[in-house]
Structure formats: structure tokens, C-alpha cells
């Protein structure tokens, strides 16, 4: 009899151990760091903020190679109410290894799947998950959600200026930039960046190289900064260098990744997830900056809204934002996210 009881207890214990989550201590100010290994890289993931809410927003940063630090810097309000899972993709941000592995779009999408699995393993099923993708990371998120049953892991998708049609980004920039510059000049804006932008557009009717694309993106960002209506935000401060985040790792990864021409060309010359967009049926919130020149709202967001399969979908336009609406207007951004989660959780 005693042996039977012991055996029963052992089985119960085994079940408890095998099914249980790893994180039991929830907090309103949680900090949890771990890594997910991917082909020679240990990708860092930090879960910060209010885990007591039992809602975790997984952030997929843009770039590629940008890291999650910019979003984290401007997400204090979100952290107070919800938990944020800040993931640095392979060869990005604080992610580290002595071998970069093969860089392909499919690898980055597969890595997202690995991070989702580990998050669910670590936090258990009683947490609800939302996916938030920005810019290029928004494109990767669409590629992931629109495949198989991946979207079933999430209560909703927050698309922040995400490029589902990545191969069109440079072409849309070449259309949007001169239009925006013409509007600004007509308004009396005399910033020299506007003329530089016009000169660039006149000299480049088509973007053929990674270098030209990189320069065009910088020109777009430069013009955005000179638009009076766009709220200014600061990126580099003392805390940027001395805080928890390894800024030097970010710089190293960013410069190395953009030297991988085959990967950059695969993303911005070949990748198009337009066919995946109708597959997404979970509630969707799209947040876009009105003055986003890097990724035009008219050309990208409107197409996304028309194609997405979700019946519960909403577009929030940030009136004083460029490509980084969470940094330009953190209050507006937070309220849009909060309303969406409260409605759909």
C-alpha cells in the first residue's frame, strides 16, 4: 500500500514538474533575463514590467539589427501596466556569439517561433500573449502569424509601422519623400535637409544597392526630424552607454549585419508577405505615424488594413509622429495599446 502511495505521489510530482512554468514569482516591477540559442547566437530576452497583469507583449524590433533598446526606452507606461518581452534578434542588439550563423529571413521567423515557445514554457499558459512588431520586425511578425496556426498563441497583433511588403519599402520611400518635401517647402520650411532629399531623389530614380538604400533611409529620417509637427525625442544619452543595455554590442551588431549584403537584399529586394496578410484573423491594431516617410501610411498601412483577415481591426494614426511613434508620442501610443488590450484580452 505504502509503495502504491509513494508511486502515486511520484507521478503527481513528475506531472507537476513537467507541466509547471518556471517563473512563479509575479511582480509589478519584474525583471527576468534569459537567452534562446540560435545557430551560434545567444539571443537575449528580457521580460520586464508588470507580470502580475498576466499579459505579456512580445516586441519584435525593426532594423534589421536595431535591438529592442529604443522601444524599451519609451515604453515605461506600458511596463507599468503590462509585461514586455524584449527580444534582441540574431546578430542584433545585445545578442551575442562567436559565429553569426546563416542570415536568412526564414531563420529570423523560425527564431521568433523559438522565443514564443520558450516564453510559454517559462511563463505558463495562464499568461496571455500579444505580438507587437515594428517596421522590418512587423514584416517578420506578419510572416510568422500568417503561417500555419502560429497566430493561435496570441490574443492579438499590434503592427507598428510594419512592412508586410518589405521589398517595396525603398520604392515607397522614393515616392513619399519628394511629396513630403514639396509639402514642407510649400509651408515655408527652409531646412537644408529638404534640398538634400530632393537632390537625392533626382539622382536616384531607382535604388539598386544596399548602400543607396541605407542612405535613402537616413535621408528620410533626416527630413522627418525637420518637420515641425513631429514631436522630437532623444535617442542618445549618458544612460544609453552606461545602462544595462550593451550599446557597444548594438553598434557592432548593427554595422556587421548591414555588411551582409545578401541578407539585406533578401529582405528589401525579395521578401513580400502580402499573401500571408489575409491569413491573420486575430484582433489587429495598426499604429502609424502621420509623417512616417520611411514607411508611408498611404502606401503600406492602408493596403495592410484592406488585406488583413481580422474582423476586429483598427488603425490609429499618431498625428505628431514619424517612423517611431512610440518615441514621438509615448502617451498616444500607450493609450492605443491599452485600449486594444483591454478590449481584446
Amino acid at each position: 500500500m505504502k509503495t502504491k502511495i509513494n508511486g502515486f505521489l511520484f507521478i503527481i510530482l513528475l506531472l507537476l514538474v513537467s507541466c509547471s512554468k518556471e517563473i512563479d514569482d509575479l511582480s509589478i516591477d519584474a525583471y527576468d533575463e534569459f537567452a534562446v540559442r540560435s545557430d551560434g547566437n545567444d539571443m537575449l530576452v528580457k521580460v520586464v514590467g508588470n507580470t502580475e497583469s498576466k499579459i505579456i507583449i512580445l516586441f519584435v524590433h525593426g532594423g534589421p539589427g536595431e535591438g529592442s533598446w529604443i522601444f524599451s526606452k519609451y515604453a515605461e507606461q506600458i511596463k507599468k501596466k503590462y509585461a514586455l518581452a524584449l527580444w534582441d534578434q540574431a546578430n542584433s542588439g545585445s545578442t551575442q556569439g562567436n559565429n553569426s550563423g546563416d542570415c536568412t529571413v526564414q531563420r529570423y521567423i523560425d527564431d521568433l517561433g523559438k522565443v514564443v515557445k520558450v516564453l510559454k514554457h517559462r511563463y505558463g499558459d495562464e499568461h496571455e500573449f500579444y505580438l507587437m512588431g515594428h517596421s522590418c520586425g512587423g514584416g517578420f511578425s506578419v510572416g510568422y502569424l500568417g503561417t500555419g496556426s502560429n497566430q493561435n498563441d496570441f490574443k492579438g497583433f499590434i503592427n507598428v509601422a510594419g512592412a508586410h511588403k518589405l521589398k517595396a519599402v525603398k520604392d515607397y520611400q522614393l515616392i513619399e519623400l519628394p511629396q513630403r518635401v514639396a509639402i514642407e517647402i510649400a509651408k515655408g520650411n527652409t531646412a537644408k535637409e529638404l534640398q538634400t532629399a530632393l537632390d537625392f531623389c533626382n539622382d536616384h530614380k531607382e535604388i539598386k544597392t544596399v548602400e543607396e538604400f541605407s542612405e535613402l533611409s537616413l535621408v528620410c529620417a533626416g527630413v522627418t526630424d525637420k518637420i515641425d509637427s513631429v514631436h522630437v525625442y532623444s535617442l542618445i544619452e549618458a544612460s544609453t552607454f552606461l545602462g544595462d543595455y550593451s550599446f557597444f554590442s548594438y553598434l557592432s551588431n548593427w554595422s556587421s549585419l548591414w555588411k551582409k549584403e545578401d541578407f539585406i537584399r533578401e529582405i528589401f529586394w525579395e521578401t513580400d508577405f502580402t499573401d500571408k496578410v489575409p491569413n491573420i484573423t486575430i484582433p489587429t491594431l495598426v499604429i502609424w505615424g502621420k509623417f512616417d516617410i520611411n514607411l508611408s501610411k498611404q502606401l503600406m498601412a492602408d493596403e495592410y488594413m484592406n488585406l488583413v483577415g481580422s474582423t476586429d481591426k483598427k488603425l490609429v494614426l499618431c498625428e505628431h509622429s514619424g517612423h517611431y511613434s512610440f518615441a514621438n508620442e509615448p502617451d498616444v501610443f500607450f493609450h492605443a495599446v491599452d485600449d486594444f488590450i483591454q478590449r481584446t484580452k
Binding site: F34, D42, L44, N98, H121, F248, S256
Partner: protein, 219 residues
């Protein structure tokens, strides 16, 4: 395979100075009392913001004593250091570093000294939390972090307190280390690691070539 080769080459180069200079020592003809400095210091990665510690032992291989006309004595030393360091960077990683190389130091009669060193070494990083490996539906954990090579250039200044009190064979020093970690993904990673510490000169009998120089005469 390339990584294995580069780590082998790094380890070989790491101990090459020790092998090289130990040969020279046995050739020496002067046997004199030379101290073996051992130092402990606070090592702060990224301008002191990330805490760490460094232990160094130095093997002095050559000392030149210059006597100036003003009868002030300047001592120049060439040494082979072996450094063992550790740092912790919350939100990033921790690391153990082992390096060796060559350094030189000039000590003035006032006790002020300054110098520089170049070190080559290996380091092993560790992820601060668990590292997961996902294979299909299986999730397991491994020891996170990797081996890297490193090159470190150091510039130091400090004060030899034994010049004030003979019975106190201790120096205080500050050092600025610029370290390059490689290969970091597909690039390199810079570290700026200042150090502040104490150096204790253990009196050991050593075989070291020592030269006495003055403006006019070499003894």
C-alpha cells in the same frame, strides 16, 4: 573549424611571451633581488559602470636604472603580466578573461610611475540567466555564452608608496584598458575598462638582466 583554429592560435600567442622571455632569463649573468608585483584591482567595464575584478602577476624581465646629472634615478622595467579578470554586466553577460603580453613601466624617484602594456588573451562569457535550446517541441537548457579572443592595450599611472616608506612595498594605480573582443558575431566588440587598484611587490629572488646607465657611463 575556423573558430577552433583561431582559439588555438590565440592560446598559443597568449603564452608565447612567457616562453620567449623565460629563455632570456636563463641566459642572464646578473642575479639580483627583484620584486614580483602582484596587483588586485576593481575593473569596471564600460567606464566603471559594470563591476569586475582583475588579478595580475608580473614577471619582470629587464630593469634599466638611469642616473641623471641631477642624481635623480629613473627605473624602467619591462615585464610579462598574466591577468585574470572578471566582470558582470546586468542585462548582458558576465565574463572571465585570461591574458598575457608585455608591458613597460617608468618609475621616477618621486614614486610617480606610468606605463603601458599590450595583452593577448581568451575570454569566456556567460549569460546571466538560463539559455534555452529549442528543437522542435523539445526545450532544454545549456550553459550560455561563448569563447572569444581578446587584445587589450593598457595605459597606467600611479604612485609607488615604497618611495615614501621603505617598509610599505605597495603601489596604487589607475589604468585604462581598451579591449577588443573577437570574433563577435561577425564583427568585433570594443570594451573600455578602467581599473583602480593596489600592487604589492613580493620580494623574490629572480634572475633578471639589470643595467645601470648614466649620461656618460654604462656600468
Amino acid at each position: 573549424m575556423m573558430i577552433k583554429n583561431s582559439i588555438f592560435i590565440t592560446v598559443f600567442l597568449l603564452f608565447a611571451p612567457v616562453l620567449l622571455f623565460s629563455q632570456k632569463v636563463t641566459d642572464s649573468f646578473n642575479t639580483i633581488e627583484v620584486n614580483t608585483p602582484v596587483s588586485i584591482s576593481y575593473l569596471g567595464d564600460y567606464l566603471f559602470s559594470k563591476p569586475g575584478v582583475n588579478l595580475t602577476i608580473e614577471n619582470t624581465i629587464r630593469q634599466t636604472i638611469l642616473t641623471k646629472k641631477s642624481s635623480k634615478i629613473v627605473t624602467r622595467s619591462v615585464y610579462v603580466p598574466i591577468n585574470l579578470g572578471w566582470y558582470y554586466h546586468k542585462g548582458y553577460n558576465s565574463a572571465i578573461m585570461l591574458s598575457s603580453g608585455i608591458g613597460c613601466r617608468t618609475l621616477r624617484s618621486t614614486g610617480l610611475f606610468y606605463g603601458s602594456a599590450l595583452n593577448l588573451g581568451v575570454m569566456r562569457t556567460f549569460i546571466n540567466g538560463p539559455t534555452y535550446v529549442v528543437n522542435g517541441e523539445d526545450i532544454s537548457t545549456v550553459t550560455g555564452g561563448y569563447f572569444y579572443g581578446n587584445i587589450m592595450a593598457s595605459f597606467e599611472t600611479g604612485w609607488d608608496l615604497s618611495k615614501c616608506r621603505k617598509s610599505l612595498p605597495v603601489s596604487t594605480f589607475v589604468k585604462l584598458n581598451a579591449l577588443i573582443q573577437f570574433p563577435y558575431n561577425s564583427g568585433i566588440l570594443f570594451h573600455i575598462m578602467p581599473e583602480i587598484g593596489l600592487r604589492y611587490a613580493i620580494p623574490l629572488k629572480d634572475k633578471t638582466k639589470q643595467y645601470y646607465k648614466s649620461k656618460t657611463q654604462k656600468i
